[in-house]
């Protein structure tokens, strides 16, 4: 049982290895990754880190209580996560698949509504906005709240649309 916030790419193999055991014949892994919705090129994740870890640990303890034979682990990535990269992963292993699926689903659903993590979407046009899990968005000040989240990250790799300069494409 392990709840972690990490600042580097998630290690899914390690997460799986942490919950698997010979007598747990079913393992369910959920991976959430950044979608390119509405021009998003990356998401800068921040958290109330102490509380997020404490809340994740409480969620895992609740899962343990509800599915005593299951082992669960969760990792959430913080900092800038580019489109297509994983931001969160939950693993649950149990003797039977139903518990593994249910415990895994429980943890990700609880995480989405309880764990103090926020996302600031970085868009192709250089703007940034706060987004919540109900799809509401609020423009963000130009200055990012975290020094390691450049507002123009990824622009070189994916130029913004709009008036092109002499190119037919």
């Amino acid at each position: 049982m392990s709840a972690r916030l990490v600042h580097e790419p998630l290690d899914l193999a390690a997460l799986l290895a942490g919950v698997q055991a010979a007598d747990r014949g079913g393992t369910c892994l959920f991976v959430g990754s950044v979608r390119p919705d509405d021009g998003v090129v990356a998401i800068d994740y921040s958290a109330h880190e102490d509380m997020a870890v404490a809340e994740l640990e409480r969620i895992l303890a609740e899962a343990q209580n509800q599915w005593p034979e299951a082992a669960t682990s969760v990792e959430h990535r913080l900092g800038r996560v580019a489109v297509g990269e994983a931001s969160v992963a939950v693993a649950a292993a149990a003797p039977h698949r139903q518990s593994a699926f249910e415990a895994c689903r429980f943890v990700i659903e609880a995480l989405k509504v309880r764990v103090p993590v926020w996302k600031r979407e970085e868009c192709r046009d250089g703007t940034a906005r706060w987004a919540d899990n109900e799809g509401r968005r609020t423009a963000s000040d130009p200055g990012p709240p975290r020094s390691d989240s450049p507002a123009d990250g990824g622009v070189a790799a994916m130029p913004p649309p709009g008036p092109t300069e002499g190119s037919a494409r």
Partner: protein, 87 residues
């Protein structure tokens, strides 16, 4: 109930709320205990930037979610949390 007229609550703000107020951490001197809602009203009275924070935001005391009628005591750390967006 005893109130401590000279107490201070440690307030932490995150994400958009920190951006609005311009800081992620401050101390508010006010009579305690007081409800979360009262602390938020006090913050709004003192910091114009806090106007856009809801009257009853998501809140945590000492790293646990609390309702807005929860009593904040001297020495508590109150965190005001924008709608969470993990995952």
């Amino acid at each position: 109930m005893d109130t401590d007229q000279s107490a201070a609550v440690r307030l932490r703000l995150f994400a958009r709320y920190a951006e609005l107020v311009g800081t992620g951490e401050l101390e508010l001197a006010m009579p305690l205990p007081a409800t979360v809602e009262a602390v938020v009203a006090h913050l709004k009275a003192q910091h114009a930037g806090a106007a856009l924070i809801p009257d009853r935001p998501l809140a945590a005391v000492n790293l646990r979610h609390v309702a807005s009628d929860h009593l904040v005591r001297a020495g508590d750390e109150l965190s005001l949390l924008p709608p969470v967006a993990g995952g």
